[in-house]
Symmetry: C2
Subunit: 427 residues, 2 copies
């Protein structure tokens, strides 16, 4: 088994190891650069130390597992590094003995994504992958609901959850928000979320909003038996988040939402420990972590850390979105969310597709990820339907039926008037 390495440490125990992969660009000799990175992130420093003995290094040093030079270029992607005539672009895999840090997500962050990005040996560095030993799954239980729990609470047994976001993002009062929700639940929507900007501002206090919205959602559920899942954005300080969660639970709500980069890992872990509802995880700020391709994070390792910390739903943008992210990146992100965290602990979570979405992206999305265990949110794609919200929801749902059954959209639309009408304005 790969994850339980058979490496014998200096203190003669069989050690678990953490593996991380990087895209590296360096003006230095690639092997030397890899050694410097491994040293900086474990027992080494800029100068040789008399007490960094061979035994200490064998026990605690990070190891360069693989290094492959892909190409060389004439200019560095990022300034400030070693000046050279050519810069080597490589894939690099490092590993660390878990004895250095234990199964701790915060300390994992410092180890795999700490000072290394600032090294002079680096003119580009991006964390591309992460493989964790099973002890992390013992320390962190992961999502409490995942795909199965979300389907159970939302009453959507098959296909995607058809969802939307309250708009305008901010500015509506609690009563105005509830009015919008009334229209949506009457239209049969499965999922509604607050915008990431809407948490507990004085103009739309969380408690009032939850009470107003849940009155509407509960009334509809009493009438029809279907309770829409509403992800209330409880992002805030810890006591606030706990109290807000309890209010949502008490009012009969079935989901809470948090902005990951805003609360941080400790906040997420504590929310997970407290929560009795699925946690809808928003990635606002992801752009500053990822938009320079030669720096920062790929989504695969990033989302893995947040799933261990307890995220049930994770945003992945959407195909042909209104932002700057290309489709291949969106697909890679969604596949990462649907992949197991580790063989011993899959920690299933649901990808959330959003941004400029309509039924036109259903078939391509399904083809790319091979399942419909997802939340598909649309704004204009639902509200813009000439037949109203119910027809908009139905059209998006039928587009997914066509996608899953492999029927061309136009052919399916011929038998479904709501979808047929949608094809006109989705263009």
């Amino acid at each position: 088994m790969r994850l339980l390495s058979d490496f014998q440490t200096g203190i003669d125990i069989v050690s678990e190891r953490i593996h991380a992969t990087y895209w590296l660009e360096t003006g230095d000799d690639p092997q030397r650069a890899a050694d410097v990175i491994a040293g900086e992130q474990s027992s080494g420093t800029f100068v040789a130390l008399p007490n960094e003995t061979p035994e200490l290094k064998a026990r605690s040093g990070a190891r360069v597992e693989h290094l492959t030079v892909l190409e060389t270029v004439g200019r560095p992607s990022l300034a400030g590094g070693i000046v050279s005539e050519r810069y080597s672009r490589c894939t690099l895999e490092l590993s660390w003995p878990i004895e250095n840090l234990g199964a701790s997500l915060p300390n994992l962050m410092s180890t795999i994504a700490g000072n290394l990005f600032e090294l002079r040996q680096v003119s580009g560095l991006r964390l591309t992958g992460l493989t964790l030993p099973p002890s992390f799954a013992s320390a962190y239980p992961g999502p409490a609901f995942g795909i199965e729990g979300t389907r159970r609470l939302s009453g959507v047994a098959h296909g995607p959850l058809i969802g939307t976001i309250i708009k305008p993002s901010v500015g509506l009062s609690p009563v105005e928000t509830a009015q919008q929700v009334r229209e949506l639940v009457a239209g049969g929507i499965d999922f509604i979320k607050d915008d990431e900007l809407q948490a507990d501002g004085p103009h739309c206090p969380f408690d009032e909003r939850v009470r107003a919205v849940m009155r509407v959602v509960n009334a509809e559920a009493d009438r029809t038996g279907k309770k829409a899942m509403v992800a209330f954005n409880l992002t805030g300080d810890l006591d606030q988040m706990r109290r807000r969660h309890d209010l949502v639970l008490a009012e009969g709500g079935t989901c809470v939402m948090a902005v990951l980069n805003s609360i941080g890992l400790v906040g997420m872990h504590e929310l997970r420990r407290h929560a009795q509802l699925p946690i809808h995880a928003h990635r606002a700020g992801w752009g500053y972590l990822s938009r320079c391709p030669e720096l920062g994070w790929d989504y695969a390792p990033w989302q893995m850390i947040w799933r261990l910390a307890g995220a049930d739903h994770l945003h992945v943008n959407g195909l042909r979105n209104k932002f700057s992210e290309p489709d291949d990146s969106v697909i890679a992100a969604a596949r990462a969310v649907l992949a197991p965290v580790m063989r011993e602990a899959p920690m299933s979570a649901m990808p959330v597709f959003s941004s400029g979405q309509t039924g036109l992206q259903a078939a391509d999305t399904y083809a790319a990820i091979g399942c419909a265990d997802l939340i598909h949110t649309a704004g204009g794609g639902i509200f813009g339907h000439p037949g109203g919200v119910a027809a908009g929801v139905e059209a998006l749902r039928e587009a997914w039926v066509a996608a899953v059954e492999g029927v061309p959209l136009k052919q399916h639309a011929a038998r479904h008037p709501a979808l047929n009408a949608a094809l006109e304005f989705w263009k």
Copy 2:
């Protein structure tokens, strides 16, 4: 008074506003790009919404306060944006009414540093400044110790705290760590810190390390009356951090350390609420937030958020450091840490200089920041002294005396043998 804006909102109250400045590069018309960013981060979205009324927009919309085009370039810094023949680089100031979010640091993050980095209108975006209204100071008390409290606890009334970092970063046992500390405190050092990689790994458990180190530190304090400040890295989950803090306190320790990007804002705020000791804040991971100059964060707004959350000491790298950061960036970071968070609440904190530091950087550092309210850590610059650690500490301290008194280093060294000897190996 600028911070309490006299802007009349649609609901006729005088509103506090949050101001953030950005460096923006866009392939779009700059004014339109600014409007899109302001809209995305408040009441707008990609399409016009019937319920985004003029009243709602006046009340809740972000406002473009200033926009200045600096230059145009022929190629975009970041891919994925609007394709154009020229890209305008601008300074942009936005403001938000506090009614949108309240005085909440996590929600401030989502607002000033959320989805905007991913917009197509953006081919470069960097958050450069932040001005917060006084209600944030009411909600967040800031550092509990700051400069004055750190001087009191360390017994260093004037000049910098002379410090060092335990090396190798990881790999030493608790007993070996304490041996290194014994040498350092016998040499009269003011400050010692764990490496950011060393928290509570099985090979060097936190509790054992603290007990072993504090035995040495307390014994020296009993003997000499001087207790070195040791920043123990308690980074971890919340219960772990609280328990570790309590152990440090019980053992007579005077400082704890946390890695900000690893624990996140909620973790820091909770640690601050619990702590009775200064919090030494490490910025590991800062590279992925900052190393692409056209993306991410300047240090000034970033450190302000963490000071509000309670950081007493903040790392700023060092002049002529071993990393890739240029000196002007280091100076700007240090000045930001020494500047008040706001006039009504200065929230004093101490900058921490490190990386390849010796007494040779003292005069330039002093000249750049105009004070000695800082921690200056050196590794080789102290341990490498031929006269031993005590001479190394003395040499660095005397270099600062010379800097503050405006005496040339060589002239001062003529009267101080330890400094004189250091000048040889610091070269």
